[in-house]
Amino acid sequence: MADLRQFKLPDVGEGLTEGEILSWLVAVGDTVTVNQPLCEVETAKAAVELPSPYAGTVTELLYEAGTTVDVGSPIITIDVGGDGGGSTSAESTGSGLIGETNANGRTAVLVGYGPRTTEARRRPRRSGTSAAARATAPQVPAEADHGSAPERPPLLATAPDVTVKPVRHGGLEIGRAAEAHSTRDVAAAPSSAAAPGRGALRPLAKPPVRKYAKDLGIDLATVSGTGPGGVITRADVDAARGATSTPTGALPGSSTGEQRIPIKGVRKHTAAAMVSSAFTAPHVTEFLTVDVTRAMKLRDRLAARPEFAGVKVSPLLLVAKAVLLAAQRHPMVNSSWDEAAQEIVVHGQVNLGIAAATPRGLVVPNVKDAGRLSLPELATALTELTGTARAGRTAPADMTGGTITITNVGVFGVDTGTPILNPGESAILAFGAVRAMPWVHKGKVVPRQVTTLGLSFDHRIIDGELGSRFLADVGALLHDPGVALAF
């Protein structure tokens, strides 16, 4: 019974694609044995004899001598029927023979390892496993927490079945498991010296959507994302824009002249702090109008003294000094409410905050342990503090840890106000404009330099009496700075 096998031209070099059959060494009808030379082939690299992989009878020569044949083309047919080739293993293996197609759908196994022919079309995929399907799958865990939720494409998320055991060697734990464990620790708990509070996660969006929102003045933090994994889409931004638009539906920058300013940075921070303070601490505000003519004269005298050369001796400086002196007499005004511990914290030093208007919004840097400073030192500190704040270069550390604050609303020409406590503090003093006013002085109405002080305090800590005494002390010091000698 005929059992026909074809021998395909192998790649006899490394990466050859064709060869010329120089001559046939067998003819149709010849009986051949395994490894008997069949033909001589010349390739770009060498002229070689091709030995037969089969034992049997030659039934067909598929190309004439002198023909150039592509690697992988059948060149000869051999009938291995009967017991032909039985002594060799070539026929018994089934797969792996030259030219036979593997079951796995790969391109037919060319003999040799030269270039493999490939087709210019995609191989069929199991449903739902295309790259596109993966790409649209959620990429972010919905509740991504800091440091422990890698935003990995899901195809990388499956841990491979590789057993790698940590190795102990020389007393050191090494290995993947050990590393993974500690890496998590490192990420979750950076050394306390190094890490201040860690902010919130960024809202998720593609760069064009980010740009779109930015152009519209929409803060992505205020937009909820409906895309996979909570990603904010262009439509989400549009929806957010609709929700925040005025009833007239006017667009930003439209003819109404309305301007929309994104709430961010200092403004955003301030807003949150003020809301928190206003609705946490019960505020009480008291006012006191004072004749500060003497203090203003003192200011002029001080400014002429060599100790104050090069520094600004402002009315604020004297108010600051007055607050520091008064706080010394009434330590409870320099305190904080610790809700968690259910304790009132009376601070050991005064970190005096000065509210400063800057182009970026309100910032409240503070002078650390201001009570220990001499007046010239305090003057220098205040000058630097406000200058730095206006330049927008206040370091975060300078804005934290304040214990009591002065807000100098007078510079804007107003008389007073009801200031809101800087969060965590118990008292804030508003210092109004100093102006010449008719005033009863020594029994006569005369023009005097007068200002109004407004003190807000946290009524949980400071009752009316304490607040009033403190305010009165500040007023007395400004009315007659000599009173300081009595403090």
Partner: protein, 379 residues
């Protein structure tokens, strides 16, 4: 051009005493002439029994049979490439049989005869050339390192291994294989400097088969290679690489000296690559047929057969039995090659590191997913 014509016009005055194409060659150690005559050498001798002689003959024949079958398998497309040892059987079997179990050999990529002597299964060597893996044998268990393809790199490994042997105080020696071309490599020269200055128990076994692919030995060296050893400060000896007895004797002596703490030796086994560099090579482009014909007269197997027959150590039955064993071996190699399964795709990841980093584990997982995504299952 001049080198080639120069090398091929010289007639060998004394067959076996030197290279026909290299005039004025120094003498080499020979114990069995190409005609099969046992001769004595003043410095090197061998005490060998009949059984061992027959065993050497069997080694030579089976190794050659394996080589022939592998070449055929490549021509039939079953191997990507094959580096033939044809003509170098005596050098390799002699060196391989000189090793003791406690010794370690560092081969190039052509030392199939040494692999055979170390008990490595031919199919484990074949698997490298079929592209299934980089060699399937256990280097430590066999005392035979994996093939090293970068020319000469293994000579440093051998030297370092010998430094380890030194530190262990072990009774072992190391045999570093290299070719004539490799002697031009900086790393080979570094290895010889290290071995010499540290007195490492390593023997450098250089098979000078006259060509580095196409480039003849004159381009590598203007002095006989073995003489280079003097410059490094240890003995060098040229041995007839087609004389299995001489190779065995010289290598045994060198290994023994190394084990005794006398440091390295350089052995130049003077031989000839009868075949192509590899199956991808065409030697007719750079050497003449007459040269090949001259070397055929020095065939390493024919001389042993002549000696065994003439001295009555083996008879026709023995030779026929060895030939039959060769055919059985060839059939086993053929079947084993065709049966050799392709490795699993994930093999490429699994041994890159002793401890796989998470980054590579992620790639591996992606690879598995990717291939599983096709209809018909993973490749």
């Amino acid at each position: 051009m001049t080198a080639l014509s120069h090398t091929t016009e010289v007639v060998d005055p004394v067959p076996g005493a030197g290279a026909p194409h290299l005039p004025g060659q120094p003498p080499l150690v020979q114990l069995l002439t190409p005609e099969g005559e046992r001769v004595e050498h003043p410095d090197h001798s061998i005490d060998i029994g009949d059984e061992e002689l027959r065993a050497l003959y069997r080694d030579l024949v089976l190794v050659r049979r394996w080589d022939v079958e592998a070449t055929a398998l490549q021509r039939q497309g079953e191997l990507g490439i094959w580096a033939s040892l044809l003509g170098q059987e005596a050098a390799q079997v002699g060196a391989g049989r000189a090793l003791t179990a406690a010794d370690m050999a560092f081969p190039t990529y052509r030392e199939h005869g040494v692999a055979w002597a170390r008990g490595v299964d031919p199919l484990q060597v074949i698997s490298l050339f079929r592209g299934v893996d980089a060699g399937g044998w256990d280097p430590v268990a066999t005392g035979f390192n994996l093939y090293t393809v970068v020319i000469g790199a293994q000579t440093l490994h051998a030297t370092g291994y010998a430094m380890g042997v030194q530190r262990d105080g072990a009774e072992s020696a190391v045999l570093a294989f290299l070719g004539d071309g490799a002697t031009s490599q900086g790393e080979v020269n570094e290895a010889m400097i290290w071995a010499s200055s540290l007195s490492a128990p390593v023997v450098f076994f250089c098979q000078n088969n006259q060509y580095a692919i196409s480039v003849p030995i004159e381009r590598q060296s203007r002095v006989p290679l073995y003489q280079r050893a003097a410059g490094f400060g240890f003995p060098g000896v040229r041995v007839d690489g087609n004389d299995v007895l001489a190779v065995l004797a010289v290598t045994r002596a060198a290994l023994a000296a190394a084990r005794e703490g006398q440091g390295p030796t350089f052995i130049e086994a003077f031989t000839y690559r009868m075949g192509a560099h590899t199956t991808s090579d065409d030697p007719t482009r750079y050497r003449l047929a007459s040269e090949l014909e001259e070397w055929k007269l020095r065939d390493p197997i024919a001389r042993v057969k002549a000696y065994l027959s003439r001295s009555g150590i083996a008879d026709a039955d023995f030779f026929a039995a060895v030939d039959a064993e060769g055919d059985e071996l060839a059939a086993r190699i053929r079947k084993g090659t065709l049966d050799m399964a392709d490795p699993a795709g994930t093999e490429i990841f699994d041994h890159v590191y002793a401890e796989m980093p998470p980054t590579l584990a992620a790639q591996r997982a992606e690879f598995v997913d990717y291939h599983a995504s096709f209809e018909g299952g993973a490749h």
